[in-house]
């Protein structure tokens, strides 16, 4: 029994960075902008949070630093994809590479090594309980905003029929710029949860595809907040089980594949009629 609770607890904990990133991706993509750069945002967010927490000694400041880094990265991506109409897959991939290169460089400048920040003492870390509560709160907030507020309506129309939004007197570009920036901040906070919540430092390759996993969860959840949360929890469970059974009879490598294999199975088998926002990635 305690085993079961332990597994559930660990899957919730493991899912929380994914939840942040998936909600960030949701804001971008519902407004019509493909966000393949979640991975890079988690990387810069994770690093910025570790640096911020180290400098100030406060986890909240670390989280804020991550959000700020997300805003900066998100702004650059929004300029590229919304204002200059770059191909969003290419620009997003570029942002990922930029993050992967920038973080080791900054780490070298700041800490004389290429990728790992010094460890935080326990009291300066983000409590994972808080991370989970915050993540769930964000899901509820995003779901409510998208469904029930004027801003949510604008975001939905920007992603579905931008010309209709424009003819109603609201600029789809502005809505997209802001959605991308806000969403990027959320995704970067997902990285912060990973580095200063679940671990005590940012370390190299820490994100390890979680940005892409969050993107998958978003698609699996059909671009809706609560179903996307469900998908994140499922991935969290798979990873929790993987950690749990590493010591068992099954080869470690096989277990490590589990979350990724689940991603594939889910995408191939269950998404089925997933319907993306009509204007997603379109630049006219």
């Amino acid at each position: 029994m305690s085993d079961l609770i332990g597994i559930l607890e660990s899957s919730l904990r493991i899912a929380s960075p994914l939840i942040f990133a998936a909600m960030g991706g949701l804001l971008c993509e519902r407004s019509g902008v493909i966000q393949i750069g979640l991975e890079g945002l988690m990387i810069v967010g994770g690093f910025a949070a570790a640096v911020g927490a180290l400098q100030t000694g406060s986890a909240a400041a670390g989280l804020a630093a991550a959000a700020l880094a997300g805003v900066v990265f998100g702004y650059v991506y929004a300029e590229l994809s919304v204002r200059f109409r770059a191909n969003q897959i290419v620009a997003g991939t570029g942002m990922n590479f930029l993050a992967m290169g920038l973080v080791p460089f900054l780490s070298k400048v700041l800490y004389e090594n290429t990728g790992t920040t010094p460890s935080l003492p326990l009291e300066q870390r983000l409590s994972w309980h808080w991370a989970v509560v915050l993540a769930l709160g964000i899901v509820a907030g995003v779901a409510w905003m998208i469904r029930s507020t004027p801003v949510g309506l604008w975001i939905r129309f920007a992603g579905e029929h931008p010309a209709a939004l424009e003819s109603a007197g609201i600029s789809p570009r502005r809505v997209r710029m802001r959605s991308v920036i806000a969403g990027s901040a959320l995704a970067a906070m997902g990285g912060a949860v990973l580095s200063i919540g679940l671990a005590s430092a940012y370390s190299r390759n820490m994100v390890a595809g979680r940005g892409f996993m969050a993107l998958t969860a978003l698609i699996f959840g059909k671009w809706r907040a609560w179903p996307a949360l469900g998908a994140c929890l499922l991935f969290g469970l798979a990873e929790g089980l993987q950690v749990r059974f590493q010591s068992g009879a099954i080869p470690v490598q096989l277990m490590q594949v589990l979350p990724y294999a689940l991603t594939l199975v889910v995408l191939a088998g269950f998404v089925g009629r997933a319907r993306a926002p009509q204007a997603l990635g379109r630049q006219d």
């Binding site: 507020t149 801003v151 604008w154 129309f157 579905e160 209709a164 007197g169 609201i170 319907r275 009509q278």
Partner: protein, 497 residues
């Protein structure tokens, strides 16, 4: 009191050689409480003028007055604040969202992060629906509604914002005759309570039926303005084209055609469409757009296993290139996309699709210059292609001449079967009669003709047999000359008419 007064409106696009003057010194006076028709051929500048009135474009010069006040709109938002609303030709509605959400968009009247006032909006919408007898389910998704109903939502959207001046861009293009009648009676009711309506159209019959006054644009200039009561279709057509036009289509098709051998035979296309086109008959396919016409036409060239026989030959597994070797003419649905290379000359376009035709290319793959010259001569003289210029890019021709170029090329195949999709769409009034004549000549010389069109008048005037396509099925069949527009319209609308 004039609701709208436009003086000397001028707008040009591009610069240097490619400068196009879309509106030159256009004057429009639209008294409040009237229905005003703005007519002209494609590219005459109707939409440009209305986009300036609606704030989507800024004029180069000229002034716009709304209810007597000089205005300078920077965006549609400004125009909406002055009480102007527009129903665009392509609806501004998002399919997966509800009627209420679509109507509320941009008129939420609460803070951006507060709750949408859905209950109040629903109450207000309901009262509008009652007042104008335009019922609609506020919670229905747009994509589940028929087109006529979607248009109603667009009009309600304007009424919800209390627009006093309503601009409708080609509102009847996608409607059945019954839906058009309903739209017109709604428009009259709106006018009678003092609203001003501007309707952009190129259908003269509708101008005469609905409008109080009419302005005609030709090549960006105002060609004429009069009260509709004094107007005739001939007069308006003359203004549109700039010369006298014969509007009446040649004598209606007579029975007795179509006894020849089958030239086209299809079985079980779409959801069970089967029919034959015989030598010496024109078979018209009527229907509101989007009921399977595109897919039907596509499977004639790309059968991919579907049962299609052309000139008695089973082509169900043939690639398009094999089918194009048969003496068959295809006028594609979208000639700008599928019919012509817009940046290439008439000569090159005549060669298009004939790359393997031994008439044009010898066995070494070299183009026979002489044959191409002869084809160009034929296009000029038999097909009346104008202007007679060898090197001009095809986008320089008018819509009618582009279509003539397609027709000239396709007739180089000496067709025994003509598949003709929307042959007069976007074609100047003057060229329509010529194209109809060509189709009838082809029939009279023994070809089978399939005519797919959303213009009911065209179907009625030309067809020996009429099939009505609805939702991927043939729902009715009539002999030409034995049926009127209303009957066909009912069939086109199916159960929902």
């Amino acid at each position: 009191m004039n609701a709208v007064e436009i003086r000397g409106l001028t707008k040009a696009f591009g610069s240097g050689d490619s400068r196009v003057v879309a509106n030159a010194n256009v004057d429009l006076v639209i008294p409040a409480g009237t229905i005003h028709a703005l007519v002209g051929e494609n590219g005459a500048g109707k939409s440009t003028a209305m986009k300036m009135l609606f704030g989507m474009l800024e004029p180069d010069s000229g002034e716009i007055r709304v209810n007597g006040d000089r205005v300078r709109f920077k965006s549609p938002m400004d125009a909406m604040r002055s009480g102007i609303g527009m129903v665009h030709q392509h609806f501004m509605l998002a399919g997966p969202y509800t009627v209420l959400e679509n109507i509320l968009l941009g008129a939420e009247s609460t803070g951006p992060f507060s709750r949408l006032p859905l209950a109040e909006a629903e109450k207000r919408l309901k009262s509008l629906c009652d007042r104008y007898s335009m019922p609609v389910d506020p919670h229905a998704r747009i994509e589940d509604l028929p087109v006529g109903m979607q248009q109603r939502v667009e009009i309600l959207k304007l009424l919800y914002r209390d627009s006093k001046i309503l601009i409708l861009d080609e509102p009847t293009a996608v409607l059945t005759p019954q839906e058009i009648d309903a739209l017109f009676s709604n428009l009259r009711r709106l006018r009678d309570e003092g609203r001003t309506i501007v309707i952009i159209t190129h259908k003269l019959k509708e101008v005469l039926a609905i409008s109080d006054r009419v302005s005609v644009l030709r090549q960006g200039r105002l060609a004429g303005y009069m009260e509709t009561a004094h107007a005739t279709a001939e007069k308006l057509a003359e203004w549109m084209v700039g010369r006298k036009v014969i509007l009446s289509v040649a004598a209606a098709a007579t029975a007795g055609h179509g006894r020849g051998e089958p030239r086209l035979k299809v079985q079980n296309l779409l959801r069970g469409v089967s029919f034959e086109v015989r030598a010496g008959e024109i078979v018209g396919i009527a229907g509101v757009e989007g009921n399977g016409q595109t897919e039907l036409l596509r499977s004639l060239l790309l059968p991919e296993g579907r049962s299609v026989e052309i000139l008695g030959k089973d082509v169900s597994k043939s690639p398009a290139s094999r089918i194009r070797e048969l003496p068959v003419a295809f006028f594609p649905e979208d000639r700008l996309r599928d019919g012509l290379l817009m940046d290439e000359s008439a000569e090159r376009n005549l060669l298009l699709g004939n790359q393997r035709n031994p008439k044009f290319v010898d066995r070494w793959g070299v183009i026979r210059k002489g044959a191409l010259d002869a084809a160009l001569e034929r296009a000029w003289h038999e097909f009346d292609l104008r202007p007679k210029r060898r090197q001009m890019a095809s986008r320089g021709y008018s819509g009618g001449n582009q279509q003539k170029l397609v027709i000239a090329r396709e007739f180089e195949h000496d067709p025994k079967l003509v598949v003709s999709a929307h042959p007069t769409r976007g074609v100047d009034v003057g060229a329509i009669e010529w194209i109809h004549r060509k189709l009838m000549d082809a029939r009279d010389s023994g070809a089978g003709v399939l005519l797919v069109s959303s213009e009911l008048d065209e179907i009625l005037a030309l067809s020996d047999r009429i099939l009505v396509l609805l939702d991927g099925r043939i729902v009715a069949e009539y002999a030409g000359g034995s049926v009127d527009a209303l009957t066909i319209g009912r069939a086109m609308g199916g159960a929902r008419a």
